[in-house]
Amino acid sequence: MALYSEKVMDHFRNPRNVGVIEDADGVGEVGNAKCGDIMTMYLKIRDERIEDVKFETFGCGSAIASSSMATELIKGRPVSEALQLTNKAVAEALDGLPAYKMHCSVLAEEAIKAALKDYYDKNGIEYDHSVLPDNLGCEECEVD
């Protein structure tokens, strides 16, 4: 289907790292069912590295593909690197997304940040609030 790149379709059809981590160190959920997208990220962190990551997504093809790609980009990486992940990097790794689907990659970035924030909060670790603001993923879509 020409709507999406082959990479998006591959990650949509065969999403990597789907599931739940029961004893996760950090969990982040962003999005809004009203808008049609919700992502949940589960992180297992050891020695400041993303030892494991899993996701669940309610959403369109690009939302599922963006979550899948985002988990691949941070799995096994240091937390400091995961913090730097941008939605642009997710979209580029997918060989691009249609303009009106870019918000899916934003959700993926924010889901990871929300999970990292949860990890820091749970463990009383100080962090830069400008990088991890309190209102992550709370952006409301425009619905009547």
């Binding site: 949509f12 049609g36 919700i38 669940e56 997504t57 369109c60 690009s62």
Partner: protein, 399 residues
């Protein structure tokens, strides 16, 4: 299931052209290509064909040939009907229109434009079953009502309105009545006289005819204004050289659909019922709109906990072409206005699936669809945080 079937289940979007329709078009591209407005033989032969087509289309609808205006399709016909009635009414100080909340955008956007120009529009509630209530229509009619426009059958959920009764009510009150019958023609019986219709829009490609051609029926005595100015074609009501090949294809397709209407309707309705029964076995799902008062080929479901676009993409992988009222399939963030109009909450409206079948389907094809929808819905629910919250009891099931 290991064998893939290729099933086009989006006949409300458009249909495959019938052989009859294609064959009816070819002579008007290859041989009789003259301009019907020209006076030499090849032009006059085209003119004869045009008028023959007009008479045949009129006969299918129960109309007079002089009441048929060929247009580029349903949207143009809707626009012309609505603006004509609105501006004609406004001259007499009538600037109120009655419609429904779930019309096609060709109607809704025309009404929105009129609202910006100072018209007032009452949008009738279509209730959970997708049907207007005559009592509510009666209450909405006013002295200054210039037009009532209610679609014959809804394009998304397929519900068929009590058009004859609505028409009778309008006639009693001497208010022009327009119906967008794009989804109805060729699928349910339509007769402009019996159904008390003043204006009707239709489009050929919804009944195995070509795209880009349609009709506006305007009852004699009802005023119609031009959208397109130019030559004197269509009795001066629609300028532009007639798309004769398409008109001939439409005419052939319409005659075929009308002749086979009863037989097709019986076959397709039985298949539709089998499809609905099959999909209802999926837990936390529901049919949208009245089961009885709906088009023979329309099935529209919602499945809690999943999003429609991913459902469509995975069904496409399995050979099934379908559509959804999900926001993600439209490029906007809002799900289908039709599903919202029948009271489905936003979060559930995203998980809708429309399957529109035709007479080419078999029971085997229906069973293939049911099995594949089941598998895909189960798979998507398995990765959905919304579904997880519903199953764990954190959120309440709504279906």
């Amino acid at each position: 299931m290991d064998k893939i079937m290729y099933l086009y289940a989006d006949n409300a979007a458009t249909t495959r052209m019938s052989r009859t329709a294609i064959d009816a078009m070819l002579p008007y591209m290859e041989e009789i290509y003259g301009n019907p407005s020209s006076l030499y033989t090849i032009g006059q032969r085209a003119k004869e064909a045009l008028e023959d087509a007009r008479a045949r289309v009129a006969a299918c609808l129960g109309a007079n040939p002089s009441e048929i205006i060929f247009t580029s399709g349903g949207s143009e016909a809707d626009n012309q009907a609505i603006y004509s009635a609105a501006y004609t009414g406004a001259k007499k100080g009538k600037k109120h229109i009655v419609s429904t909340a779930f019309e096609h955008h060709a109607v809704l956007h025309s009404l929105k434009k009129l609202e910006r120009e100072g018209f007032e529009v009452t949008y009738l509630d279509v209730h959970e079953d997708g049907l207007v209530r005559l009592e509510e229509l009666k209450e909405a009619l006013r002295e200054d009502t210039a037009l009532v426009t209610v679609m014959f059958a809804n394009n998304e959920i397929g519900t068929v309105q009590p058009i004859r009764e609505i028409g009778a009510l309008c006639r009693e009150r001497k208010i022009p009545f327009h119906t967008d019958a794009v989804q109805a023609i060729g699928h349910v019986p339509v007769n402009v006289v019996d159904d008390n219709i003043d204006m009707l829009s239709l489009s050929a490609h919804k009944f195995h005819g070509p795209k880009g051609i349609g009709v506006l029926f305007v009852k004699r005595g009802v005023r119609v204004l031009n959208l397109i100015e130019g030559g004197a074609q269509e009795r001066g009501k629609r300028a532009g050289t007639e798309n004769l090949a398409a008109i001939m294809g439409m005419t052939a397709a319409m005659e075929e659909a009308c002749a086979k209407l009863e037989e097709n309707s019986r076959t397709v309705t039985a298949l539709r019922e089998r499809l609905i029964d099959g999909l209802l076995t999926i837990p936390h799902s529901a049919l949208n709109g009245s089961r009885e008062k709906r088009l023979p080929g329309n099935v529209n479901f919602i499945f809690e906990g999943i999003e429609g676009e991913s459902l469509l993409l995975l069904l496409d992988d399995r050979g099934i072409s379908a559509s959804s009222g999900s926001a993600c399939t439209s490029g906007s963030l809002d799900p289908s206005h039709v599903l919202l109009a029948i009271g489905r909450p936003h979060e559930i409206a995203h998980g809708s699936l429309r399957l529109t079948i035709d007479e080419s389907f078999t029971e085997e094809a229906i069973d293939y669809i049911v099995e594949n929808v089941k598998e895909v819905v189960t798979y998507l629910r398995g990765m959905s945080p919304v579904w997880r919250d519903l199953v764990s009891g954190k959120k309440q099931f709504q279906l």
